[in-house]
Symmetry: C3
Subunit: 654 residues, 3 copies
């Protein structure tokens, strides 16, 4: 990346009187915005009746925006098919797990497996790309909108059933192969034909986990295929434009790495306050960070989508004020919109685009703030955007920023823990977030990567939870010089969701002489102590000749090492996880420092960034941060960070 | 009202052997009862087979009861259509939000929109009114029973769908008007025809709030129309009789003001213990008041339905002992049945009717107490009824009782907060109850009124939560001399559920120079402090030149005043709400006194009533109550109130 | 019983390569196992296509096992019908309460009322019994598997509806009899014909409790009939073999006494850790006993199923390590598998059979431990089994063990409290468990019996919760010399679920001059005190001339006595329940001793057993246990019990 982070905004010309467009465009530019995303929910206005395409208004809208100097990110409108399409094919709707069609009246009312709907999408995207694809102001496309939002990946429709059977037939070739792979002999679940296989919903008790995993894989593949069809049309009809999709935070129903592989850039929608309120955080965090968001929510996704986008990523929608969709909807602390924007820059975002330009006074999201209030007066965020636009100019390009630490996350592992958690708090995503947070508390920069990624450049690698782990990944990890920390459950399942013949950690056993012979999950409130730490939630019993590096007071080993590999055989508390990661980081020469609870830092190029997520002022003095900022030149801020405050200084070469 | 409060009872002759009727009637009279409600669940016995009307048993029952000197309140039996009706029209059933028909086997198994069922109701009511309408002992009619019980207002049936479309077509005239009113452009939700509009259930994510609000309005209108059809028949065939419906506590699915507008008298069913257990009260209240009911539950509804009935209201069903339908079912403290009865009198009830005469040993409500036990021995309540009958005679008419304080409550506002609460504790009904309770803690009498009511006689007006507030209401409030306190969210929505162009508080801005430019909802546990108080749950940010009367410690204004209008811009804690109301009441010359937690008082004519809802004895001495009761003449009780005790004294003219 | 407790194991030859069978069999014998249960989920392998019966593999498996000296318990495979059966009769599936068919893909996918499926079961069981019935190694049959698992007793299918109508017609003869029995007049619920009666699901509000109770009785009868059909075939075609069914802990959807009446032996599946985690125990117990199970879970079921089996009972599946199906799945403390086995022996089990031989690496239960790990290495339990096999040999037969205390439990009463609990914590099963636990804390041995059992041999009888109680039972209780303690709600309902004409305790009033005239249920947190105790949850008001033996501080009586009968009229806290039971036991000459929280004892023949269920070591010294074990001869263990430790000594004749 060679440019400064750009700023943009999401805009819906169809929501506003045409007379307002020019002034809106002018004001966008005045704020320092250069990109505008439009069109992704406009199908009913583009094609108000079957086949009746009306480009005129959108031509004028694009003309007006482009005329003001804005570049356009055009959304394909396939997340909101018009009502008339349902008259033609009522079965295009997705079906929920209870068998009920998910009706028209909001958005995402389609099934990824419906061939008719897929054809309609190709048609409208082709028409749109044909019309606008070479428009000089159109610089990028967003395909659809937030795949998976409102739990829309898994559909139990007839279309999905037929497509799943074909997918299985292709995967297994013969039904006996499926029976064996799934272990259907277990409860006389054998099939004689692929046509007998149903979707894994509404079974008397839980369906075979292999059945569920394949359905999850199939459903993810359907999203990939749906997305790819549009990408291919766009590449053909709109050459040279950047193609992206806006992923959504904490969504794991499909494989984001796989979808992103077809994109030029990964983007995501960043709502730190809404995510904090809705996700599974402790109540104390939800109160402490109510107006800031948890200090790691945004960064976690930045680092995840940078990985998905192979280095290229955007924030497509940035929360600018209170949202409407969480159980409670506080306002960001003044300064947080600026902070989030600079933080995205520090993590390498090419673009931060605010959602939305003006708060809309009607329909579902009328209580969602924008840069402007519904009465067109600037809302608080607008001032912060104006400020941050200048600051970003000052900072210039964030520069290449390979993080020293790699954290591996795979969607298949997340599905496995979701399908059979074995304990109420067991989820791969949770483990990854907690490990990520512990690394960030140590002041470390992290890349979140798919398991198969090239890890050769990293100085430290962590593997919080990879129940499925291939031979290649095991070999790669063992082949590193960097220290590697592997969490419990690694290699505990085969690709087909069974226990490996040699038991967990499966292929890692070649390099790490341990065998997990028993696992226990323990309810919240249970713990067992070691010197200065405790374990919780999960405990493994190992067969090994290795001498544990750490033991519980009763002698039960919890940390084992062989070569560069370390294995943690229990659910760590904060002290154990932090301590082990700190040791490894020190070993890797990374100078870890335990930061105050609310402080986060990030390096980019030769710049250092510090962010105060807490409710009180913080000082950077005396923390031992890299090249003591007191001596550095502060480009932004100073050693004293007020709430929502940040500091940027230039790192001295060692 | 010019008569003493009458007493009555609910009786089901069809449940008992005919030989028992005469003795039952005699004992009713002996207890002091003069009214008996019968018939509302008897359709299957009145018409055991299609068209086969059998009046004979009911003729005899009415004859027996009338012969003993009882006057009859006759219920139309439309809440329990007989089983054979379903054979004729199986689609008469309501359909739940998941699409499942709500089957026969209990009660209220009908859809308000089903034309066939509506015709059957007109037929049976016409037949009943024709037969009994001019019977001299029949003095009143109750239409149906507890509209809305068991969540039966909203039906997602085909009949409802068709009727909703017609309702919309009538309301909007053209589909484009609907599209604009709802803001359907938002997510390409435009319709081309009213026939495309479905009910707002089973959508992928939340339906358009305007869609939901219109469906709520439509559903409420269907109840109004259903009720009115019966009222019109009864007026024609049973002239001069009082017509009522028995509303149910804390039900808000339809507009009770609108239904009551067609009635002569509003009545409600008072189950203080059941409501406390089932409604959303803190656990500490549920324990403290387990055997008394929360001190404001009964009074709140008395004052609400007095408003609905334009001064005329009854308690149609009064809890006489443990009920069967709450999660836990304690027994009222001895004395509570008497207390509840006198309290209803103090609030102006014309009639208090106990449910039921004798505990029924079978079917769904067999654990619901009556005045008699199943073995016909008097249960505890019977003795209290005998006592209170004498006391009511002694007290005579309660006299005209215009309360000095008006509290405005509108069903449309309640629907709006239910459809989009924006915060987990945000409900108009909750706010109204809390404000009402705070006023009562100050010893004030309150009228609960529809927003459009004439407020000219009131000395103080409070508006806890009216998101929708018309120009007329705003003008009326501003035109008063009395102080007015307006709570947050007032005027924040248009009638069509969008944000007003000039933002909240909408039409109030003409009289109160504030503009709400941002709102936040905050999770339970969050609070911010001011001097001697705190705010919670909700916080608004205002644009105004007014100097706040109260601020948080950080300077954020929470109370603003212009002329007679005051606006509270945050969710108050008990101290803030109590303090502000006390100031206003003092300003209005109302001599507010902060009562002990468990004590409530009420004036009626020149009488003062005091009620002890607590578990311990209370003394009225030294409280500074009006015209010090120690000096007054106690008609009932004394200055010392035992648990469940009450005192009545004559107020000295000042 | 004259033999030592036998040990067995559950094995699935169809899950493993045939080459492994012989070695498995040899190792089973080596561990001390003599019984092996097989076949109960193998239908799809026995009959891979319609009518194509393949006995060959099972012949070889049985041959191999028998050749090693193992005796076979053969399961009928009707819990897992093969997929092809569904093509023939898709309506064989059960239907859930929401009306959704419960699909293929796991197990128990059938409706007990489906005549076609019943015929298929008779066919396959006939074929299996014809083929294997006289095989010398086949010593027993298990019918189906865990009736009721996954809530499969109640089915709302069309088949169930038709069968229910026939069942009702048979029971009531004429529809008017049903209307009267149910009290359908209540809400005009009268039927004109049995064909009008639907199943009691999806009603607008709760269906008539009599309707629900009859549906529960009908559903239970369907299980009895289903079971009996197989039993009759097996008796004919496999003479002399023991017939059993494996019941599941804490299941009460059908009458286990009635099903067991057709069996030779009752057996049950013992998962102490899974049951503790899933059932409604306080969180503190779930943590304290996470790795042991609550000290009374296993014993309660031992004593219940000993009653069901008229003295003959087995543990068919014994938990050997962590299971897969609870919310959290800890591992048993080392020693617990041995402890559970000896405890079963002490309670009189003829057989303890472990589930399963080897942990299966695939399908739904892949995380369920076995005696062997998936890699065929012995898991921890194997060592304990080897040890306990020797110990059981040493102990010999447990000898006749009539317990001195009888506790009455009836399924109809449990259904009644489930259908109308009246208070959130009211369940007959809960009361029985709590009383049982209190008795065991006093060191008493208990038989759990159906209400109609012969009680003449018992020295003390307790009746925790029998809302339905026949004249005969009342007479039998009153006719005993032993003291009897009767809990609240006894005799409060007639068989048809109405209140008895003379009120509760119904038929007991002839012998106990009390009449319950009012009951209250009170929410958790409420209590009322007496001297040294408190009551909670439930309080009854009585009419009686008896002087209470115990009163609350306010004078309200809570314990009444007449002759040998005592009646407790409130929900006791632990102190009250323990104290009253201790008094009664002392009166009965049973030398009750309040044991430490974690200790349990059991007598069998002249042996005494003590079990430490706690996390810490316990000493038996100084407890005053029978014939002071310090002086006795310890056959196993000593006076000091480590965690999971036990002691067995010979009781000296007094």
């Amino acid at each position: 990346m060679s440019d400064a982070t750009l700023l943009g905004v999401c805009y819906y010309p169809e929501h506003w009187a045409e007379e307002q467009w020019a002034d809106d465009a002018r004001r966008m530019r005045e704020l320092g915005l250069s990109r505008v995303r439009i069109g992704e929910f406009a199908w009913a206005r583009i094609e108000p009746a079957p086949g009746l395409l009306d480009w005129t208004w959108l031509d004028r809208a694009i003309g007006t925006l482009a005329g003001a100097g804005l570049k356009i990110i055009l959304g394909t409108p396939t997340a909101t098919p018009p009502r008339w399409l349902l008259d033609e094919m009522p079965d295009m709707l997705a079906v929920d797990a209870e068998g009920k069609p998910r009706q028209f009246g909001s958005r995402r009312h389609y099934c990824f497996s419906h061939a008719g709907y897929r054809a309609q999408c190709r048609r409208i995207v082709g028409a749109m790309a044909g019309h606008f694809g070479r428009h000089p102001a159109v610089v990028a496309w967003q395909v659809d909108n937030e795949y998976g939002c409102h739990d829309t990946v898994l559909s139990y429709s007839e279309a999905a059933r037929q497509a799943f059977r074909q997918w299985l037939a292709k995967r297994y070739g013969h039904i006996q192969a499926l029976n064996e792979a799934w272990g259907n002999v277990f409860w006389s679940m054998d099939y004689a034909d692929f046509e007998q296989v149903d979707l894994p919903n509404l079974t008397v008790t839980e369906a075979n986990p292999a059945h569920r995993l394949d359905f999850q894989r199939f459903s993810s593949d359907q999203v990939v295929a749906f997305n790819r069809e549009q990408v291919e049309i766009l590449r053909e009809l709109s050459p040279g434009r950047t193609i992206t999709h806006n992923f959504m935070g904490f969504f794991t129903d499909f494989d984001h790495h796989a979808v992103a592989a077809d994109l030029d850039v990964a983007s995501w929608d960043s709502y730190p306050l809404g995510f904090l309120e809705q996700a599974d955080f402790p109540g104390s965090d939800k109160l402490r960070y109510a107006r800031q968001g948890h200090p790691d929510i945004a960064a976690f996704h930045h680092d995840l989508y940078r990985g998905c986008g192979r280095g290229r990523w955007w924030v497509m929608e940035q929360q600018p004020g209170p949202v409407n969709w969480a159980r409670n909807n506080p306002a960001p602390l003044p300064g947080m919109v600026r902070l989030w924007t600079i933080e995205a820059h520090a993590h390498g975002a090419e673009l931060v685009s605010y959602f939305r330009w003006r708060q809309l006074p009607f329909a579902q999201e009328q209580m969602h703030a924008g840069l402007l209030r519904p009465d067109s007066v600037e809302d608080l965020a607008a001032g912060e955007v104006r400020q941050v636009a200048g600051e970003l100019q000052r900072l210039g390009a964030a520069g290449p920023a390979p993080a020293p630490v790699a954290l591996l996350f795979g969607y298949a592992s997340e599905w496995m823990t979701r399908i059979t958690p074995h304990g109420e708090r067991q989820r791969a995503l949770r483990a990854c977030f907690e490990w990520y947070s512990a690394l960030r508390r140590l002041g470390l920069d992290v890349d979140i990567l798919a398991p198969e990624s090239d890890l050769s450049k990293y100085r430290m690698v962590v593997v919080p939870c990879l129940p499925w782990l291939s031979e290649q990944v095991a070999e790669a990890l063992a082949g590193l010089e960097a220290p590697v920390l592997i969490g419990p459950r690694a290699g505990s399942k085969t690709r087909e969701f069974s226990i490996p013949p040699a038991l967990a950690p499966g292929p890692l056993q070649r390099y790490l002489q341990i065998k997990v012979v028993r696992v226990e999950s323990l309810r919240p409130g249970w713990s067992a102590s070691g010197p200065g730490f405790a374990i919780q939630d999960w405990l493994e019993h190992l067969e090994t000749d290795l001498i544990p590096e750490l033991c519980l007071d009763d002698g039960h080993g919890v940390l084992y090492r062989q070569g560069n590999l370390r294995y943690l055989s229990a659910g760590p508390d904060e002290r154990l996880l932090g301590g082990v990661l700190q040791s490894l980081a020190a070993e890797a020469g990374l100078d870890p420092i335990l930061l105050p609870q609310d402080l986060r830092v990030r390096r980019a190029g030769d710049l250092c960034f510090a962010f105060n997520y807490g409710p009180s002022a913080l000082s950077l003095a005396g923390l031992g941060l890299m090249n003591s900022p007191a001596n550095g030149h502060f480009l932004i801020g100073s050693v004293d960070l007020p709430p929502a405050g940040l500091g940027v200084w230039r790192q001295q070469k060692a």
